[in-house]
């Protein structure tokens, strides 16, 4: 696996914030030790997904600058990070 960390962008735009991103801000505290060092969690002013009906509902999180997770919760984001990291390792 490369040294580059997986970028996890939590949208904290207004819509995402009121629909659940307020809780996602603390995502990093809930990351299991096995993946903690492999990701870089940052906030994003707006990922722009709330304007696109096809991408599901807010809050949104983006992995690796490409994969959008809609209806994001701490649990499903951690799960998606795991899957993504396994794919990257493979």
């Amino acid at each position: 696996m490369s040294d580059e960390k997986l970028l996890v962008e939590v949208c904290v735009g207004t819509t995402c914030f009121v629909l659940g991103a307020a809780a996602l801000q603390s995502l990093e505290d809930f990351l299991p030790d096995s993946i903690k060092d492999k990701v870089d969690v940052v906030g994003s002013p707006c990922l722009g997904s709330c304007r696109n009906r096809n991408e599901g509902s807010a809050p949104f999180v983006r992995l690796g600058g490409e994969q959008i997770i809609c209806n994001a919760t701490i649990q499903n984001v951690i799960e998606a990070i795991r899957v993504k990291l396994e794919k990257m390792d493979a």
Partner: protein
Amino acid sequence: MPNDDIFVEIECFQQTKTGESACGDDFKSVRIEAEDRSLSVLSDGLGSGIKATILATMTTTMALEFFRRNMDIVQSSETIMDCLPVCEVRRISYATFTVADISASNRVRMIEMDNPRFIHLRNGKDIEWPERSFASANWPDRHLHVSEFRAAVGDRIIFCSDGVTQAGLGGKSTKFGWRREGLLEFVQGKIAKNPEMSARELAQMVVYHARMKNPDSRCVDDTSCAVIYFRRPRKLRLLTGPPFRQEHDREFAEQVINFNGHTIVSGGTTANIVSRELHKKISCDLKKFTPGAPPIFHMDGIDLVTEGILTLTGEARALEFGLPDSAPPAIKCMYNMFMDSDVIEMIVGTKVNEAHQDPSLPVDLEIRRNIVKHLAKILEEKYRKRVIVKYF
């Protein structure tokens, strides 16, 4: 036409006599935009507590109204004195006042009755202007003093209630109180050290220092100090909301560069537009977030970058009802930037955020233009800021 080169910062700081629930000094200030004029009044009511508050508030309210209508000075003052209720204990009706009437081109007229004489500081010196005195036929022992002059950039006018000049009365080094001389020396010293000191800071310093002269640092009398500072305006520009037409994004984003003052970008999409058009990277460290509040972002060359609607709504609440200690950093930071500015420009993009129209959203997301209007109104009326709103 408002004079753009000089901003008149008017601030008053007060402390209530220890043990009283209401301040017996009252200060009021209004800006009359159409005449490019500001009118401020400080009154010290006889006694202390509620009785004094009523006397002082009646005086400031009447004085503002009479002087803004340019009524005759002596007649207005007589009316005020005639109207005040008579104190049952002392059998007199009494409240002092100082009126500072500042009109276009910084022409100043000071009208004083029984407050300590005002100080006019220019280049560190107290200028004593000639004054005309008037006595009222009905109130022969009350004298009105009127001075007229023109203020220049950098000038300060300082006036106070006798709680300041009589501070420390009976003390070892201040047998007759701090007096006007002591106050003058103090403000001269402070300004020599920090020539740009704001009116807000100076007024606070005077009151705190006066208080320290008293035994146990108690307020033995209601203590107020008003400072008027003729300064070059400190400017702030706030950008919020995406422009109605996308082809204006560039021009919109450029409003934050080559600007002689502080800048705020408030809004996620807005931040993205500025970032894209000016090739500035946005970063956000989630390690320092406050629970329940949107974080602060960082962009090179911009003093503050925040989320939009929630932060602006919280800001309006803080400005209206006071800044709580627990306020999130974005709101605190914006609050301080507003306080430290004289002229605030709000550049508002008017494109509606469709995502906010979703009926499933759990909170009221106000329309941006309404919040901005509300913010502007509070900043103008409560904080006497000059606010300019431009739509994009």
